[in-house]
């Protein structure tokens, strides 16, 4: 033992020195640095997780947005189609109404024309009759009496009526 240099004071000194070094390095070096390493790896993991979560959120909100856009587009198209329908219906109604009015107007005009024509024919006939009477009076003033006179007029009127109907 002595030849090797092992002696109690030397051994105890080295033991105590090493034990002190161990304790101090543990407290001074190992603890704070391993804590910092642990904290850092935790932080990195946390931020990676947060990034994943954020990406997922973005993805889901994007999906929702796209869905909403599609929905509103469909709704818009529906509204346009509705409006078109209403407009078509309105147009048809208006058209029908206009057509009706035109028809009514036309009928009224036709009726007016008919009436005018009848009135004109009546007037004409009346004038013609008086002309005929005047002419006949003048022709047969002296040879024909009153009754013969009337018969003749009637015949003439009838003939003129027939004539009008033929027309």
């Amino acid at each position: 033992m002595d030849a090797l240099g092992i002696n109690l004071p030397g051994l105890v000194t080295q033991l105590v020195s090493f034990a002190i070094l161990f304790a101090v390095l543990w407290m001074l070096l190992y603890k704070p640095i391993s804590k910092a390493m642990g904290d850092r790896s935790k932080k990195i993991q946390d931020s990676l997780e947060a990034a994943d979560k954020a990406r997922e959120e973005v993805n889901s909100s994007k999906e929702a947005m796209e869905k909403q856009i599609a929905e509103s587009r469909a709704e818009g198209q529906k509204m346009i189609a509705n409006a078109k329908d209403i407009a078509d219906k309105f147009k048809e109604e208006e058209l029908a109404k206009a057509r009706e009015e035109i028809n009514a107007e036309k009928q009224r005009a036709e009726a007016d024309i008919q009436r005018e024509r009848d009135a004109a024919i009546d007037g004409l006939r009346r004038e013609f009759a008086s002309i005929v009477v005047d002419a006949a009076e003048k022709i047969v003033e002296k040879s024909i009496d009153k009754s013969q006179h009337t018969d003749l007029i009637d015949t003439v009127v009838k003939e003129s009526a027939v004539l009008r109907k033929d027309k």
Binding site: I6, S17, I33
Partner: protein, 346 residues
């Protein structure tokens, strides 16, 4: 031809070559052929750590040169540790980064060896690694083993007689100049005499010179068995402490003293007990042997081929110092992991 195009390389080769020749001729090798003009002295190496003064320092207690190195190592580590952990930054740099790399390396190693259980082992493994590494590395700095106090021949003879050592084998260097503190270097030692010759005739030492043995103030901490044994004891103490904590007293103790499973298992237990002692011894002597041998090698090369002969071996010793630190810490981790494993694990 290629060399001529690279003048720097050529100059380096010439310089190193001539230094090598000068060292070879002027050193211990050349001395054997009558040259040896550099006067390189061979240090007197001995196994036990030497005290740093002739008188006991505190209350009969000798402070040895390896203790001084141990304390310097501890001081360096504490300063490094303080610098590294003074301002813990989220983005590490400098020493914090360095220690983080080392800690993380051992943590990963530990997880690979023994899983989650290894977290408790890391502080000690780290301390062992750093202490052995730094003490080995500062141990090869210049000044280690070459600056010291000169032991009086009377004292040297007294010590030799106490160890039953023949006086003809005790070599005394004759130092140029007087004074307590000496340096082992070129021309600092004029010649060497044996203690027997000196005892026979004191006048063998000329005036203005003194005979004696240089006792270095600093010596690599792990060239002292006390240091390596202390680390080994602390390591094995904690290995068993962790095993007790993990397995409980009974489960751990029955590994060594086992009556229940018959005589064969009892014998196995005894063998286990012996191997635990063997582990302490192998821990101690592996580290001590490597570093002490390295020291001897460096001294021998510095003596044989001064100036330049030591250079490749300094690189080798850096490597050996790292490897020994790694092996010691790694084995501590493995022993802890094996001791912490339950009986029927295998």
């Amino acid at each position: 031809m290629k060399l001529l195009k690279k003048p720097k390389l050529l100059i380096a080769i010439i310089v190193f070559g001539s230094l090598f020749i000068v060292g070879l001729a002027g050193g211990g090798l050349g001395d054997a052929f009558g040259l040896g003009f550099l006067g390189a002295p061979l240090a007197a190496l001995q196994l036990p750590a030497e005290p740093i003064s002739s008188e006991p320092n505190i209350g009969g207690f000798h402070i040895t040169n390896t203790m001084i190195t141990t304390w310097i190592t501890i001081g360096i580590l504490l300063i490094l540790g303080f610098v590294a952990s003074r301002k813990i930054k989220e983005v590490p740099s400098g020493f914090q980064n360095l220690f983080e790399v080392i800690i993380e390396y051992f943590q990963k190693l530990g997880v690979g060896v023994s899983g989650k259980r290894s977290a408790q082992y890391i502080p000690l493994v780290l301390t062992i690694f750093l202490f052995i590494l730094i003490s080995n590395w500062i141990g090869i700095l210049p000044g280690f083993g070459t600056i010291g106090w000169i032991e009086d021949p009377h004292l040297a003879i007294h010590h030799a007689e106490k160890k039953d050592k023949e006086l003809s084998k005790v070599k005394l260097n004759i130092f140029n100049g007087s004074g307590n503190v000496g340096v082992l270097g070129f021309g600092s030692v004029s010649e060497t005499v044996t203690a027997e010759e000196w005892e026979h005739d004191h006048s063998i030492v000329e005036d203005g010179k003194q005979a004696g043995i240089l006792i270095p103030f600093l010596r690599s901490a792990n060239t002292d068995i006390n240091t390596t044994l202390a680390i080994a004891l602390v390591a094995m103490f904690f290995v068993h402490f962790w095993a007790l904590r993990t397995l409980g007293f009974f489960s751990h103790a029955t590994k060594y003293i086992n009556f229940k499973q018959g005589p064969i298992w009892f014998a196995v237990g005894i063998l286990e007990l012996i191997s635990e002692v063997g582990r302490v011894i192998s821990f101690t002597f592996r580290l001590f042997g490597n570093i002490f041998a390295g020291e001897v090698l460096l001294f021998a090369m510095a003596f044989l081929i001064p100036i330049i002969g030591i250079m490749p071996f300094l690189g080798l010793e850096l490597f050996v110092g790292l490897i020994q630190a790694y092996v010691f810490s790694m084995l501590t981790l493995v022993f802890a992991s094996v001791a912490g494993a339950a009986h029927d694990d295998h």
